[in-house]
Amino acid sequence: MRKGIRSTSKYRVAKSKIFFGIMCLFSALTMIPLFVILWELAKKGYKQFNLSLFTEVAPTSMEAMFARATGNLIPGGILNGITGTLLILSMAIVIAIPIGIMTGVYLAENQEKKLANFVRHLSDLLQGIPSIVIGVVVYIWVVIPMSSYSAVAGSVALSIMMLPMIIRSTEESLKMLPVTLKEAGLALGGSYSSVVMRILIPSAFSGLFTGSLLAISRVTGETAPLLVTALGAASVNWDATSPTSAISLLIWEFYNDPNLADLVWSSSLLLLLFVLGINLLAKSIAKKWKIQ
């Protein structure tokens, strides 16, 4: 009898070791795509990853053809894409963050209300809407009334995509705060708005900030909604009402032109590094500003 129990336990130990091993293996496997992608982009893009990538606008197909014919590097860079991405993103942030945070506060503060449940479900649904669909709808809402493709149309599309993530992260990080924090604020005679603005939001700030950064990094590389809203531009444009380029749009243009195809890799590498940078920043902030 005793022996039997022992043998079973040996078998169990072996089984759990194998299970543990499989988990480790799969976890390691998930890291492989990231490193392969980075390696691929670095290998193919390093030649074009130079200063002119940041300082010059995208070359035309003809310029690139001449350069290729003479065996030179393709001239030009993606400055119009970088500035466009920055313009579109910053406007999207200005639109999405106040709305998202206010909604998140409302959801966290009124968890049982019907409207709150309704909004919460809709926000989850919004997250599942394909980006191209959002793009097309914004085309109807913004591009047609303005009768022009524009950076602001692109920002509206991206801000709609950012909203669900900001709302969710705001709600979650506010719900983590102890209720006595709010009570303490109100017990000092503070008005509800000043308690929310000066105690609750600052206390949950690291969560809000991380969530917002992740939302930004999520939409940075979006291409489909920008194709039908911001369209693209050949030169640097800071006018929010005019068509504007973006890094992701340029990648798409380069991909479609055999003469420019070499630029796909360096631009993709830059985009990837940018997004990775935001992610790392978000992680380090979440760690550093965490409030005990």
């Binding site: 709010k182 009570e183 017990a187 000092l188 005679g189 503070g190 000043s194 409030i291």
Partner: protein, 259 residues
């Protein structure tokens, strides 16, 4: 800091106060009592007897939760709190919570001034310095933290945090200080310090303290309320109650027949 002179010499009067969480069920039932200035009043009773609920009715804390209904009258310096502005009531009746809860994003200095900041009261630098120093001195925390004003409140020990929270409430110069088991989350040494502090504060403030700890009530309070199942069973001088209680239930509670 001084309490304004009151004609009928009581700062707080409860008239038939009832609180219910669910309709028809009362957590506090028809409590009437008068609290005199510069006294410490202890609310005692077994868990769930409604003492914290009653305390929180005094600064209208229950209004944060729509399902809680408070009826009756509560007069603060002769004025019914339900016809006053809730924010004014809460400034007049400061509250100290069970667990120390300094605002985590604020420095020690800003924590003391939090009440002014939340009420959008603009103060000059020297006024701020003065309020911070007096408030921290009155909780005997000044000497311990005067060199680390810019540090976060959470950097302090539990007992220091609780004293900081008391200073935060005192900074607004309230008429009344409501304390909800302020030492239950503290170690014995910190508890001792907070108790000494309450004894000191009695000179300038009127204090109502909820406590689970009978010996604490005996040590600290002038008057005691014994509550049981939402009712105020007995209210009188602490000495009298601990030596010769009027009600049999009080006697049983104090002698440990139930708790």
């Amino acid at each position: 800091m001084e309490n304004s002179v009151n004609t009928n010499n009581h700062i707080l009067e409860l008239k038939d106060v009832s609180v219910s969480y669910t309709p028809g069920q009362y957590a506090v039932k028809d409590v009437s009592a008068i609290i005199k200035p510069n006294t410490v009043t202890a609310m005692m009773g077994p868990s769930g007897c409604g003492k914290t609920t009653l305390l929180r009715a005094i600064n209208r804390m229950h209004e944060l939760y729509p399902n809680i209904v408070t009826t009756g009258e509560i007069l603060l310096q002769g004025e019914n709190i339900f016809s006053m502005n809730a924010m004014k009531v809460r400034r007049m009746a400061g509250m100290v919570f069970q667990r120390p809860n300094p605002f985590p994003t604020m420095s020690i200095y800003d924590n003391v001034l939090a009440g002014y900041m939340l009420n959008n009261v603009g103060l000059k630098k020297h006024e701020k310095d003065e309020i911070v120093e007096t408030s921290l001195r009155s909780v005997a925390l000044w000497d311990e933290v005067k060199d680390s004003m810019t540090k976060k409140g959470s950097f302090l020990s539990g007992g220091q945090q609780q004293r900081l929270c008391i200073a935060r409430a005192l900074a607004l110069k309230p008429e009344l200080l409501l304390m909800d088991e302020p030492t239950s989350a503290l170690d014995p040494i910190s508890t001792n310090k907070v108790e000494e502090l309450i004894f000191e504060l009695k000179k300038d403030y009127t204090i109502v303290i909820v406590t689970h700890n009978m010996s604490q009530a005996a040590r600290l309070s002038d008057n005691s309320m014994f509550m049981y199942l939402g009712e105020l069973v007995e209210y009188g001088a602490t000495k009298q109650m601990f030596t010769k209680p009027n009600d049999k239930r009080t006697e049983e509670y104090l002698t440990g027949v139930f708790s």
